[in-house]
């Protein structure tokens, strides 16, 4: 019994996920709740806010493109709040309070999440310093080969090309 339920449910939740991508059911029901904000707020103003939020039920789908019913309802909430005169940042904060930081699409700059931003930078800097020091060491210790011939700059290119072409011949 449990298993059958699970399978059923699983397909439901999978469905929900795919919904995010593929858009709403163009049935009568969804038309009622389609983006139809109050007269004072245009669809475009809603989109402007929704552009910076992410669907909490999907992964990596922007709220303005997600057509889950939940997302439609979120856009309605945005329209209501815009009508009430709330600024964009307040609306975003409201959604963070409701659903958590996952609606932001990037880790907020606090606590453990700092690591998400700092580690790549640290690795880039660390790697850069390492490569540079390595290279410096190598350059300092070059004694094994004679320096490149001081050919005239004009000829350098041709020489190089010929040398390379020869290498493959």
């Amino acid at each position: 019994m449990l298993r059958i339920h699970q399978r059923l449910f699983f397909s439901l939740s999978l469905l929900a996920l795919l919904f995010c991508l593929s858009g709403s059911v163009p049935s009568a029901k969804s038309q009622d709740s389609a983006v139809e904000p109050p007269a004072t707020v245009t669809a475009n103003e809603v989109k402007d806010v929704a552009d910076e939020l992410w669907c909490p039920l999907c992964s990596g789908v922007r709220l303005d493109a997600c057509e889950l019913k939940a997302c439609e309802q979120m856009r309605e909430v945005i329209a209501d709040k815009l009508t009430a005169g709330e600024p964009k940042d307040d609306i975003k904060n409201y959604f963070v309070a409701q659903y958590g930081p996952q609606v932001l699409g990037e880790p907020p700059l606090e606590g453990f999440n700092w690591l998400a931003w700092l580690l790549p930078v640290a690795v880039m800097i660390g790697g850069g310093v390492f490569v540079w020091r390595r290279m410096r060491g190598m350059i300092a210790s070059k004694t094994t080969e004679p320096p490149p011939s001081p050919a005239a700059a004009n000829n350098e290119y041709y020489d190089r090309l010929e040398e390379e072409l020869k290498r493959y011949d």
Partner: protein
């Protein structure tokens, strides 16, 4: 990652006098690199265990949670010890939830005198739509938003609806994934958690 791996490169010719020190450095880098990878694999394994865990959720002590209903009343699960608790995760955008809403409400009205409490936790929902849903099905048992999905995460739900049956001692007796549509089935489940 970059520095760890490139450091394995043996020192350039001509740097002979640095050999012992750099050899030790290479060893240390190797160890660091291996440890990072071990950590990564362990986390992957943990995650894998978590994602496959859904079967085991229907047992053990129910994780605690506190929530505020749409009417403004704050309820904590601990305060409900001694009664059987039915925790139903739902959402207004969830169509299967509609199949069980009336049944749950009827059961609540019938059973509330028998020491059974129904609780609705609203999962990733929007307040206007949620209130409309509650009004539509005339739901009177306490129901409120699960802010930041705190409870949903502790219960490890995979979606809605999911319903947990918690006995008076605070242990989860049964878990139903998907809507409960039969009265008999619901009665069987309730019998397991009567005080």
């Amino acid at each position: 990652m970059t520095e760890a791996t490139t450091s394995d490169r043996p020192p350039a010719a001509g740097a002979d006098r640095e050999q012992p020190a750099s050899k030790r450095a290479v060893r240390i880098w190797q160890a660091v690199f291996v440890l990072i990878l071990v950590g990564f694999v362990v986390l992957l394994a943990l995650r894998l265990v978590q994602t496959n865990q859904s079967e085991q959720r229907a047992a053990g002590e129910a994780p605690s949670f506190t929530f505020t209903t749409f009417q403004g009343e704050t309820i904590a699960l601990e305060d409900l010890r001694g009664q059987g608790v039915v925790v139903n995760f739902w959402a207004s955008w969830c169509n299967p939830c509609r199949d069980e809403a009336a049944l749950l409400e009827a059961a609540w009205r019938r059973e509330k005198e028998n020491g059974i409490v129904f609780i609705g936790l609203d999962y990733l929902d929007q307040e206007p739509a949620a209130k409309a849903y509650l009004a539509e099905f005339d739901i009177t048992y306490p129901s409120g938003p699960d802010l930041q999905s705190a409870a949903a995460r502790r219960y490890g739900i995979k979606g809605v609806p999911e319903t947990f049956f918690i006995d008076p001692q605070g242990n989860i007796q049964e878990l139903v994934i998907g809507p409960i549509v039969s009265q008999n089935r619901l009665d069987e489940l309730l019998d397991q958690i009567r005080p």
